[in-house]
């Protein structure tokens, strides 16, 4: 029996509440984090959907970017959706001037790759490692992954474009499982956090 993992949701801007609900449903103790010191007490972190430029600016402004990078480098499990995926990319294909990322996945992402809001769509997505029915993919002005490095595991594609990836303890999806009520992707992430916790509780 492991302790209930504590998972933070980066709460600078975006659909924080939906991630808190999904994480709690998947068995984690979920809490919003907005300050550098709040990063100390978490076993995992979700970077939510939102506006990647806004979240990136606020992270720099409030001194979160450097500690976030350090924690991710030290192996903190992180899951990013949509804007969160962009923030976890080592490289953005078309960054706005000064747009910084946390990094963690050796990939290049293209922002708003699927188009503007009128092109936002829903489609079923088969995600490697998630059994049963396909996941309901909600894609909102969504990015896709242009290319990945050798260490990155591609978990899902939509019409030939990479939309879910994992590298070690870092997970990212172009779509928003937090908007669907299907918590299997969050459960996968909670399992990743638990696996990381296990050695410590031995």
């Amino acid at each position: 029996m492991t302790d209930t993992p504590v998972i933070g949701v980066l709460a600078l801007q975006g659909d924080v509440r939906e991630h808190l609900v999904a994480l709690a449903a998947a068995g984690a103790a979920a809490r919003p984090v907005r300050r550098p010191e709040e990063l100390d007490d978490i076993d995992g972190l979700v970077v939510p959907g939102g506006e990647s430029t806004t979240i990136s600016k606020l992270a720099v402004l409030f001194g979160l970017l450097a500690p976030l990078r350090a924690r991710v480098r030290d192996g903190l499990p992180v899951y990013g959706t949509c804007a969160g995926m962009i923030l976890l990319a080592d490289k953005i294909l078309d960054p706005r001037s000064g747009q910084e990322t946390i990094g963690g996945i050796d990939m290049i992402v293209r922002r708003n790759a699927f188009g503007r809001q009128n092109e936002s769509f829903e489609s079923a997505v088969d995600v490697k490692g998630i059994g049963g029915d396909p996941v309901e993919g909600v894609f909102i002005r969504a990015p896709w992954v242009e290319s990945v490095g050798a260490a990155v595991d591609v978990l899902a594609e939509h019409e030939g474009h990479i939309v879910a990836v994992r590298q070690g303890d870092v997970l990212a999806t172009s779509f928003h499982p937090e908007l669907t009520g299907d918590h299997r992707v969050h459960a996968l992430f909670v399992d990743m956090v638990r696996a990381k916790q296990a050695p410590r509780s031995l």
Binding site: G14, G49, E51, S120, S123, I140
Partner: protein, 307 residues
Amino acid sequence: MSSTPPSTPKTAEDTAVGTARVKRGMAEQLKGGVIMDVVTPEQAKIAEDAGAVAVMALERVPADIRKDGGVARMSDPDMIEGIIEAVSIPVMAKSRIGHFVEAQVLQSLGVDYIDESEVLTPADEVNHSDKFAFTTPFVCGATNLGEALRRIAEGAAMIRSKGEAGTGNVVEAVRHLRQIKNEIARLRGFDNNELYAAAKDLRAPYELVKEVAELGKLPVVLFSAGGVATPADAALMRQLGAEGVFVGSGIFKSGDPAKRAAAIVKATTFYDDPKIVADASRNLGEAMVGINCDTLPESERYANRGW
């Protein structure tokens, strides 16, 4: 155009655009953020650099619409396209209430959200536009819960308080937000028998009233708009329960727009931390000159437009 909202596809071969989840979900991504009125591509860039989550493209900010008078309409498509080109954040634009052709034009331009707005002169004094007929999602203003639910019943995917745009006076936004929150809280205490009468009183569909009673919130994102001029105003609206704020004239009618815009963004994120709101409030230069709402004649109160 059909008025039946598309539903969720079941296989990877099917994709569906314009679903309720995609429309409402878009607004969920804006939460905790500031949406700023801009009238030029240059202003849009200033807003984006300051951390705005979206911009509202319009020809004149509400304060100037007030000053100039006359009929206020949808903006020039060239101007809207110029703003779409200038920034990577979502771009919203306003149609007149009930002017579904202006809304069709905005959709064809590729705006990300349409604001069916009382700030423009209404085109129809009975009907709002059928918002299910569009792929582009809509945000609408409301002064109370019944009005919010009528707009949602017509397909609105996001609600904002009306406030009193172009006044720099937050009093009406506070009134509307408190009204909506209080009416939701009251519904929470009702049993099933009472919800039917409540729906009648609210002049809103029973199913939506029941959903709100169960959720304890609107089924869509609720922002504040109409009169926010300072970081403290934005934080106030957040503490009162707004999930984000629209700032209209407050930024580009002030002395130092870039600085004020960034300050309002900070205060919106850390709305519950008075130290950060205090820091954000320092040295911002002149705020827009405000208007006392109780000296506004009824005919100049935009919040009375829409029903």
